[in-house]
Symmetry: C2
């Protein structure tokens, strides 16, 4: 089986055919990808069934099996997403800034692709399609390392997508899938600094931590979300209830769902039982600090681990706090710098929260569930950055580009 | 002696007093720093003499001792640089983008400080002043780890700079110097992900590589420059000579100096001896490939290592190449993605070079020596990035900031 080193060398060798392609050439490949996915739907579904059968044999949870599953409708949705991607403006080639210097030098900061992007990700096969299509749009070659459990699906998808390069000047080897899904080969891939420019891990906390520890390639950390909603005393109760219920229950398995609710004392005294009623009706099980437990017997005692756990489930930790400062201190101690909300009618409290909470996205009077490239209007998303270098929050096409200074001279030398 | 962990915790604890300071409060501290440096000049010079005496005892080269040396004039220059920094616009608080969504959400991408910046650097004490003053201007606390050889100077400088916070709401502990200069404690510092947001190493190739290997904190890779000048056949010979001589000899010890000269065959045949004459007159010793050696006996045979060596000295490797494609392939194989120049009268060759050379800065008909924050008009510089995440090329104030999305709602929940 080809090593990560070998396939990344291939990706790098052919990357210029993509980085220098015109917008039309890139969109033509994307168009062909959308058509080919639909044309090959049966083949993809068959390959996916092999993964599903293995997953059942290996006792994977229904939840994970659902993430792995391809259906005709899901393949159609992938094709539709590509149609939308085609319509987005091409970020490459733009000049971000033009500087004219007194000595006559003209300096242009140009938007360029990274070169080769590495993706290490878990089960969902649609990430394979997202990564390949966003890479093509942004002029980047891509090296994919999906999980063993999705290997049949990923191989079939990549085979299908590569057909789309048939009549293109762009070489199909700009897409590379690592078929050796051993941990050793993944570790090797994380060290390929000379052929992979940036690494984007997508998956659970363990995957992300492993990549951060082992990679020497620059990494964009994504996705772990221990998100909080803080309800201040001045909050509108109906709005607060709706937002808390939405942030917790609308889709509990995703990174921008709420995991801990912070409630200012006087609001809690007046309204916590009614809120617990709403959450219980949605099947949410609750743990809390003493202040919370005393106000409602349906809240079990929380332990220290609860404050740092991303449940990804219908489970919520509740902490009654003395004031906004205690809420902010709690978030800055236990949060993962993802999405943090304050519900309040006080603009002063909002401003303090926005200024002092250290997170990619800070919300006022809205659900944390909006942290998403599509909800932000980016039209595409490759992940959600929870670190501070390069990109923060939802990452659209722009996050898959870097810059290069072009300096135009007429013989200038340094005095 | 305080550990890296302890001092970074202090920096983080007091960072909000700086990240939320007004522009006037930050500039007042900078003003006081400039004054205090001049007032304490004698104390600083005395402390520096201890380092210089040690350096001589330890047999450091004259070149390194000169980098370590403080003089009255150098201290005055530091103060003047601070005066200029005060005049630069404050990058913090700007809104980079404002998005209004159909559901009424308003999303503002705000410019914010990182929080705590870690610097690991080698001998020059002026880096201590640059790091502290640029950090204050950009609202970042800073944790410094300078080299053992500059410890007396760095301690004295930090003591002086901290006096500038006397009448300020900003806490002096936003500046922290690691006085334990052991390798073990530096390694500990590189792992302090919960208290340091970003790490900027500045120094030689070994230092940078160590940090890249050992750090779990996100790193901005800086500075190693194996830079090339490529002279195409259509180049104006006089311009080419001036640029090559300038790029190699104007200050050979810096990262943006030229280390390898690439010359297209027909230009080399016509002009290489005359160019060698100019370089030899400046004391440059030369090695080259066969094509170069046959054209001039003053060029010694190069070996494979020469192509990847950053000499930082009056030494130049010369390779005669068949054409522009061979020059570009050479640069992309041996370059360090720093600064690469083409000298040509052909705009088509320039465009190919700009599109395909993978470097932070690509030059047409100008010396590579201009890769510098001041030469780019940034008014300040914390280093030169040679990687592709976050910042590329010279890093001014903007490179010490990140962004944060503020989402303003009226009760929006996700459907």
């Amino acid at each position: 089986m080809a090593t990560a080193k070998l396939i990344s060398q291939k990706a790098k060798a052919h990357a210029p055919s993509l980085s220098q392609a015109t917008t039309a050439e890139k969109n033509n490949v994307l168009q062909a990808m959308a058509q080919q996915l639909k044309a090959d739907a049966d083949v993809l579904l068959q390959a996916n069934q092999l993964d599903i059968a293995n997953a059942k044999k290996n006792g994977l949870s229904d939840h994970l099996i659902d993430r792995l599953l391809l259906t005709k409708a899901r393949i159609d949705a992938m094709a539709t997403a590509i149609d939308h991607l085609i319509e987005l403006p091409d970020p490459i080639g733009a000049v971000k800034e033009e500087i004219k210097r007194p000595n006559g030098l003209v300096i242009k900061e140009m938007v360029v692709p990274f070169g080769v992007v590495g993706m290490i990700y878990e089960a969902r096969p649609n990430v394979t399609v997202d990564a390949c299509t966003l890479a093509v749009k942004t002029g980047n070659a891509v090296v994919l390392r999906g999980s063993a459990s999705a290997l049949h699906s990923n191989k079939a998808i990549v085979r299908t997508l590569k057909k789309a390069f048939k009549n293109s000047p762009i070489h199909p080897d700009v897409i590379q899938l690592l078929e050796d899904t051993s941990k050793e080969e993944a570790a090797n891939m994380m060290q390929l600094k000379s052929t992979i420019d940036v690494l984007i891990p997508r998956g659970g906390a363990n995957l992300i931590q492993t990549v951060l520890q082992e990679a020497t390639i620059p990494v964009i950390e994504t996705g772990v979300g221990n998100c909080h909603v803080y309800v201040a005393s001045s909050a509108d109760p109906d709005m607060a209830f709706d937002i808390v219920v939405n942030a917790k229950t609308q889709r509990p398995s995703v990174c921008n769902a709420c995991e801990t609710l912070l409630v200012e004392q006087s609001f809690a005294k007046a309204h916590l039982p009614a809120l617990v009623e709403r959450l219980s009706a949605k099947g949410v099980s609750l743990v809390g600090n003493k202040g919370a437990c005393t106000l409602d017997p349906r809240i079990a005692q929380a332990n220290e681990d609860d404050w740092s756990t991303e449940y990804l489930d219908l489970r919520l930790a509740i902490r009654v706090v003395a004031d906004t400062n205690e809420a902010i201190a709690h978030i800055n101690q236990y949060g993962t710098k993802h999405s943090e909300a304050i519900i309040t009618e006080s603009l002063a409290e909002r401003d303090t929260f926005f200024a002092t909470v250290d997170a990619a996205c800070v919300y006022h009077n809205a659900s944390t569930r909006f942290t998403d490239g599509f909800e932000f209007g980016f039209g595409a998303e490759i992940g959600i950055s929870t670190q501070k270098l390069h990109a923060r929050g939802p990452m659209g096409l722009k996050a898959l580009t870097t810059s290069k200074y072009g300096i135009y001279g007429e013989g200038q030398v340094k005095e």
